[in-house]
Symmetry: C2
Subunit: 401 residues, 2 copies
């Protein structure tokens, strides 16, 4: 990662980051992203019932998931989850300290924290860190901000897309952290998106929900839904486009750009899943509805036996069929077709003769594609996951509270 711009590529944003000492390494662990003025904001947060204090803070200031905000403060190294009323006061204090530095009120500042669960934040370090990061705000400190939100990630994740909206070229950019405790049915991990498009908060929220549905919400590293997952988009309006209206061509264009960025970040998260050596797409078609397609795709994507088989390069369709069969989706084996890398290996209730070398060559690559047609309807969903390796166990058995 160079010092290329990411979140500050769209006009109207600044960012800054520092190492303030939450992490024991020298890496950045606190970052601020801010609009030059108040921005339209939309947020999706975890569906886990145990949620971190930062998520509680966000829900307090944006009860409907959207509104006007000035910026976001993010720390890594400590997630501020299960820290009681004191933890919520800490999140509020982070917002207040950042607000003071930005010249706004705490109700205009989102907070996100990632890292270990159950520890209070080192507030003296946070206080100094926020002051220092605010002092470095600019359009060129963005790469450091990106590093500041990483935990067990081995690679920084960013994406950008452009769209023609309301007579102007608008830019959508995004960064994300991922790696572990990443799972279905929610806005996953921490991801920050910016755009210079002019768009109202409710419509931005609608676009974000749609963009997340087939991208972040299709991701499952290990079926473990985090307590802190937060997806934020800020829209500065600096592009000067005509404001986007609902159901317009402009809305479709903005949604497409937002979806492109979310899809790219989702794939980067999966490819960098803890211990992952392969990105695996499980595409289900022919389900009785999209909901059943999602249940079927995620049942395969979460199957430890399937994920181990992919890790070992084994075209084990029996495990795929079994994982489909245990899901909440209706499955009729005689109607089912399973393909790996485009090669049909199961059809009509039984395995088919297939070119083993071709399928094994596909499985040996970095990206694996499994297609399951249930033959029962028009429902479809594609889940993204990774393989299950010894390294995943090592990372998560050796990580200590």
């Amino acid at each position: 990662m160079s010092n290329a711009k990411h979140l500050t590529l769209p006009a109207g944003f600044v960012a800054g980051a520092v190492h303030c000492g939450i992490k024991t390494t020298a890496a950045e662990d606190l970052a601020i992203l801010a609009g030059e003025r108040d921005c339209s904001a939309a947020v999706l947060t975890t569906r886990n019932q145990v949620v971190g204090a930062p998520v509680l803070w966000i829900r307090r200031i944006l009860p409907r998931g959207y509104g006007r905000v000035r910026g976001v403060v993010v720390n890594s190294g400590c997630s501020n989850v299960c820290t009681g009323p004191g933890g919520l006061r800490d999140a509020e204090a982070m917002a207040a300290l950042t607000a003071r530095a930005l010249g706004t009120t705490k109700e205009k500042v989102l907070v996100a924290s990632t890292g270990i669960i159950g520890h209070r934040l080192p507030m003296a370090k946070i206080r100094a860190g926020i002051a220092a990061a605010a002092g470095r705000l600019g359009r060129d400190n963005d790469a450091a901000a990106l590093r500041g939100i990483m935990t067990t990630d081995t690679r920084a994740k960013s994406a950008v897309a452009v769209a023609r909206v309301g007579g102007r070229d608008v830019t959508v950019a995004g960064v994300a952290k991922g790696a572990g405790m990443i799972a279905p049915s929610l806005a996953t991990m921490i991801s920050l998106l910016t755009t210079d498009a002019a768009v109202g908060p409710p419509l931005l929220h609608k676009a974000l929900r749609r963009a997340a549905a087939g991208t972040f919400n299709a991701v499952t590293i290990d079926s473990d839904t985090s307590t802190s997952d937060t997806l934020v988009v800020l829209a500065s309006g600096a592009a000067g486009n005509r404001p986007v209206r609902e159901a317009s061509r402009d809305f479709a264009a903005l949604l497409a750009a937002l979806t492109e960025v979310c899809a790219s970040l989702a794939r980067q998260i999966v490819a960098d899943g803890e211990g992952a050596t392969k990105l695996v797409e499980v595409a289900v078609t022919g389900a009785r509805g999209d909901g059943e397609a999602e249940a079927a795709a995620k049942s395969v994507a979460n199957s430890p036996l399937f994920k181990c088989a992919v890790h070992g390069g084994d075209p084990n369709w029996g495990r795929i069929a079994a994982a489909l069969g245990k899901s909440a989706a209706r499955i009729v084996p005689q109607r089912l077709t399973i393909r790996i890398g485009g090669v049909t290996i199961f059809r009509g209730g039984t395995g088919r003769k297939f070119d083993l070398r071709r399928v094994e060559a596909h499985l040996a690559g970095r990206e694996v594609r499994v297609d399951c047609d249930l033959g029962l309807g028009k429902g479809r969903f594609t889940a993204l996951t990774c393989d299950l390796s010894r390294e995943y166990v090592t990372i998560n058995a050796d990580y200590h509270t």
Copy 2:
């Protein structure tokens, strides 16, 4: 394992087993268990929608899950799953060949197969094997029969219990195979039980369902529900007790013995899960109902992050709280209490100070106990699982189709 009796300990049963060549090792791979006369029989089979031909055969001859049968033929090394109409004919042929050897009709013979999915049975070997196993039927060939149903099991699993029923001492015995593709919400793996009690098929079925609920159905090795799971109990009536009536003290006594055997086998299966180094009990109390308690307990028991933490001996209550929070059960963090090895580590929405050495010593043992009181009602369920180790990945990545 000596030549001790297992399934033939209750009066009225004979067993025999051979190596007929399905497995490449010299181990027994085909076994017959038979009553000296027709027996009361009850069966639970997998809830997976993709089911093996033997399960289809059992459902054809016992559509209500109970009836009168003479015996069971079991093979390991090939599960006869996803093998089309030919596979079902093979299962039927196994029943017919066994029936001929036992002097009965094929509708009186249950079939169970375990092993790789998607391959046709080597019927010439099976044919010779059934003839040879039938020639060895007796009360002393039982240990070989037990070995004959094993696959990746590293230990034979058996249990026995006695009860006073209808004026007589009756015996309940059982054997099981387990190891991988073992998961919630079904009668798990292959397990055969015998008893010399006199009890009608419908009542035996009722007792079996109740006994399985908190035992086999509480087990999850890897969340992967098999296509072949079959739990069979045969009752010979040779004990000569007064036939058991519903809602009687006799029924309760028989149910207790059956539950004791099922519970022991379930624990043995988990302790011998693929790659397992620890047996883990996750007990949930205080849920709004038993169904929510089960959802919560299994969410923890299936969490890869939790299972890795146990493997590493880490008292990571954050992962337990997160797994509870993502479940379908209602969770209020402020009402939740989490204990490991009896030590309270989380209460009132946050972690508590605790004796780390005491908890780590508990986690270092072979059996780990986690208690989660949700503080919301009277629902309770205890799930059984094992830790997730590198060895599990090795076994399942290196196993080839």
